[in-house]
Symmetry: C2
Subunit: 593 residues, 2 copies
């Protein structure tokens, strides 16, 4: 197949779009792959659509290979389904809601658990209908608060979502592993650099869950991995293994000290070392101090009288060298939401002495005390004394204060021991490209899916939910594979296999280029042919770099010696090839990409 | 490729769905191709999705062949685009409107003239960028007042819409003809029985326009065709050629008659013939009487003070043997809307004597008089005398009354002369499957698309707009090709090429069937294999008829003599074939379909 640039609907731009911050966004717009229509809403121009379709096909092939069956649900969905599961409310502002001419309430589907579950309920009646894996590749809608980075986080986007239904839990594990394998093959085929991260299940409910994160400095998600094993996890999912409890007996009594101007950890550590206070024979560090952070926790839903739950205050204890990681804390307290307490909270509770809060006052005044696992039994701390300009030294957990609950609340730091006991953790950023999830029976129970099992017993099937951000993957590939001059597409998804540039005005060269293009097409290749008569070679070269086909063939000056130049967009390598051998050389180079 | 029915996500239904009236709707639901989610909103289950995709691919191939370039616009569109063209208002309740979290107004795109035009404006800057044909195959949304017949008229549906942009009018004609050819090839490939009808341009503006109508008794559109030529037209577009004017001199004076109880045409004709009134020496028929129908015409938009235009009353003159065809009248008066006057209108205007309205009173009281072309100059009529129980005889057009305007207002009748002068018209019903349209500069002017032509002159490109109802075509094929027992798919779009049914419990037969299925698949065919172990042959046969693959192979009793049966779903023909020759015979039969 041949596309001639003289008639291609394409305009490349010299300048980055004003609203673009990340390279993929800049380049996809500059190269004419996508165009912005509204915040987070994009058009796919011809080249972009070709990449999107190719990504879809890679996904489709691997889904079919695990026996998943493709169908397609509407995007316009009646409210009822989302009321059944409570997500009409839970989704909040992220749901696009609308009314039809008769006043009926509808949503634009943000994800389709509801439709799949109710359809399985309607179509299936026997254990023999299971297991099932169903999927669709479909346009979804989420009214993101901050759509960003072009198609990386859009409000209208293409997703592959699939759902497994099994009569027994072991079946769910099997469907989950099938997906895990398919996802690995998909991302490997596309050449994405990614990690599989243990994830928390968040608001979705359910148990096991892993995220596939493409590694990218611009990523929104932080993850950790071990220096010495395959361990990788979303920071929310990192589990801290505290040391064994220390004996309390024999530890010195806690003592109160006057500590003026010690409202920061740094000042406190400096004071302690100035005073000669030592911990197990060494200088005090920030890790020996205890931060006592006051937060406001709100449970979702309403109380018995139908009013939203009021927030309650709690104290969170973390070592002084770590911040409270709000996302980790929230993941631990799901489905509640957590915010930092504000000045009004302190004003209303004068026993909270700002800068000098300690665990004792909390307990005395009935506030819940949540401790990070680092604050383990027998550990001793320098902490606030609950009065201005005073701190306590030698406050021992389990003796001088006792947490109500241990939760993962502290940030994960580079160098922390890996939870699997092998090596230490490094921090990196990534973009979520896939998520697999053992959902359990939350949705099948909500929709009352009852299926008689082999013995006739009424059984609720268990469900898995699995997603791939298909349109996002186009941005991720651009993000990971571009260089300073433009896009670079792997052969699997490049809009065209090869880009032929005519850069010689000689009539014989022009004829030869056209013939070469025909021959490449006859050999089954998709060819982009820059035949624009009045465009300079320099502009053509720049465009070919920007557009990013993996191979570029230049019919240029060398044609006087019947040579063409083969450029590899990834390696930058340039090779002179005899015109007669050009087709074979291109085919070979494509296989080697 | 092989799909086994033992694991296929499919439930066939014995009964027609309660809300289904037309065969395609009943069968597509019963055969498990689609499922209703909300009025006019359907899910595509695996078999249905396969047909939809195949139809899409036929469309895509022919669009690419005329040099059209595929892209994809969002469905979620900001209000601004539709305000520029006034369609935010004009579309009325048919537009799905919604707000995002920030209060911004959006629509779900019902058709994309706006997006294509503004994109061409943004991307094109030179006459060298033209001509362009762009298209997409995309999900569209229209809040139909009466969604009907399943996917035949849905609220969420798939359309191919394309748009041509040309610098000169001759180019538009060329792009139009390219589409006309592509559409013919598409519908011919699919095997649809259709006519190309001259159409009015309706509210879209523009000039030449043709509709592709699939012939179907259940169709919503009435069209006419000639008994002796290729002429076909939407009834709205039928042009009446009146006879030459008759001489007025020499015609008898009009006379007033007492006509009690003659408030119907039948009674009036009976009275006339009883009185011995003759027309050119023959008995009076209904065609000699003149109906004077009062209508209310409302112009769109607002008056100078911003109020909606008030309706004005007018009289419409048609021969007594024809009804006023409101759609034809409205097409003639576009963009105004037309309704019949009601009792209040008569009460307010006592000069309108119900049952005895004639053209004279209208003129005297300043009402506009609209005459159908059948009411031509010199024609004489029996008509109301504008007082109770009285009619006039011999009222001559051009002498006793003069229409203000001639408009196509009367219904077209079977047997009317064809407008092309060849043969007479027959009436039939159809379903619109395609529409091609020389739109002109309405949208390019609204978006101020100015392109310098070769001489540098600022030029507004002219546009064509072309649509195919892709999801509707699935229903149309079902509608035209089904029989009393089920669906019948042409090989081009059938979900599978062949349906293999095992109807013999013998182990050797089962093994042979499985091997046959593998061989068919190896030969490149898509095979649906009914391997369900506990389902009776009778049920399997019924399902195979319902599902409608073009060829069915039964491995049944005959296998004891190593024979299988090949059934042709279209002809009903059954053929015994030696097992060893089955693959070759199926391949041959497929080619001959």
């Amino acid at each position: 197949m041949i596309t001639r640039m003289s008639s291609l609907f394409l305009r490349t731009l010299r300048d980055d779009p004003a609203d673009a911050e990340v390279p993929s966004h800049k380049l996809l717009v500059r190269a004419g792959y996508v165009r912005r229509v509204a915040p987070g809403v994009y058009s796919w121009l011809p080249l972009g659509l070709r990449v999107l379709n190719k990504v879809e096909n890679v996904v489709r092939r691997e889904m079919n290979a695990i026996g998943a069956q493709e169908l397609s649900f509407p995007a316009l969905l009646p409210k009822e389904h989302y009321e059944t599961t409570g997500r009409w409310e839970d989704y909040g502002d992220a749901l696009f809601r609308l009314k039809d001419r008769k006043g009926g309430d509808y949503v634009l589907g943000p994800t389709h658990e509801e439709l799949f579950t109710s359809t399985v309920k309607a179509e299936c009646s026997s254990y023999k209908d299971f297991p099932i894996i169903l999927y669709q590749i479909q346009t979804k809608y989420r009214d993101e608060e901050r759509p960003r980075a072009g198609i990386l986080r859009g409000r209208e986007f293409v997703m592959k979502d699939s759902y497994s239904f099994n009569m027994v839990d072991e079946g769910l594990e099997e469907s989950y592993q099938l997906h895990r394998g398919a996802y690995r093959r998909i991302f490997d085929t596309l050449g994405v650099e990614y990690v599989i991260c243990a994830a928390t299940s968040g608001a979705m409910g359910g148990s096991a869950s892993e995220e596939f994160l493409a590694i990218a400095d611009n990523g929104e998600d932080t993850f950790v991995r071990s220096t010495e094993s395959d361990y990788a996890a979303n920071v929310e999912a990192v589990v801290t293994h505290p040391p064994a409890a220390l004996p309390i007996t024999g530890q010195a009594e806690a003592t109160e000290h006057h500590t003026p101007d010690c409202t920061t950890i740094e000042a406190l550590v400096e004071w302690a070392n100035r005073e000669g206070i030592a911990v197990r024979g060494r200088d005090v560090t920030a890790a020996d101090t205890l931060k006592c952070v006051i937060v406001r926790i709100t449970e979702p839903g309403t109380d018995d009288e139908g009013n939203p739950h009021r927030p309650t205050l709690a104290g969170v204890l973390v070592p002084g060298n770590r911040e409270v990681a709000m996302k980790r804390l929230e993941a631990a307290l799901v489905p509640a939401t957590v915010e930092l307490a504000d000045d009004k909270d302190f004003a209303r509770n004068p026993f909270l002495v700002k800068g000098y809060v300690g665990p004792r006052a909390l307990a005395e005044h009935g506030l819940q005390v949540l401790a990070d696992p680092h604050v383990f039994e027998g550990s001793a701390w320098i902490t606030g004394a609950d009065k201005p300009e005073h701190h306590m030294v030698g406050m021992v957990a389990g003796r001088d204060f006792t947490p109500d609950r241990v939760v993962e609340a502290a940030e994960v730091l580079e160098g922390d021991p890996a939870p699997d006991g092998k090596g230490t953790l490094t921090l990196a950023r990534g973009i979520e490209i896939g998520h697999i999830f053992q959902l359990g029976r939350k949705y099948t129970e909500a929709f009352e899916v009852y299926i008689p099992d082999e013995s006739g017993k009424r059984t609720v099937p268990t469900m898995g939910s699995y997603g791939i951000g298909v349109s996002r993957l186009v941005a991720v590939l651009a993000e990971q594979m571009h260089d300073e001059v433009g896009l670079r597409w792997p052969a699997t998804v490049a809009p065209y296999d090869v880009h032929v540039v005519i850069a010689n005005k000689d009539e014989a060269a022009t004829t030869a280029a056209s013939e070469l293009v025909e021959k490449l097409s006859d050999a089954g290749l998709d060819v982009l042919y820059d035949d624009r008569p009045k465009v300079s070679p320099g502009v053509k070269f720049k465009d070919s770099e920007l557009l990013g086909m993996p191979l570029i063939v230049v019919v240029g000056r060398g044609f006087s010696e019947r040579k063409v130049e083969l450029r590899n967009r990834f390696t930058g390598e340039k090779l002179d090839v005899a015109y007669e051998e050009a087709v074979a050389t291109v085919q070979k180079a494509l296989q080697e990409l």
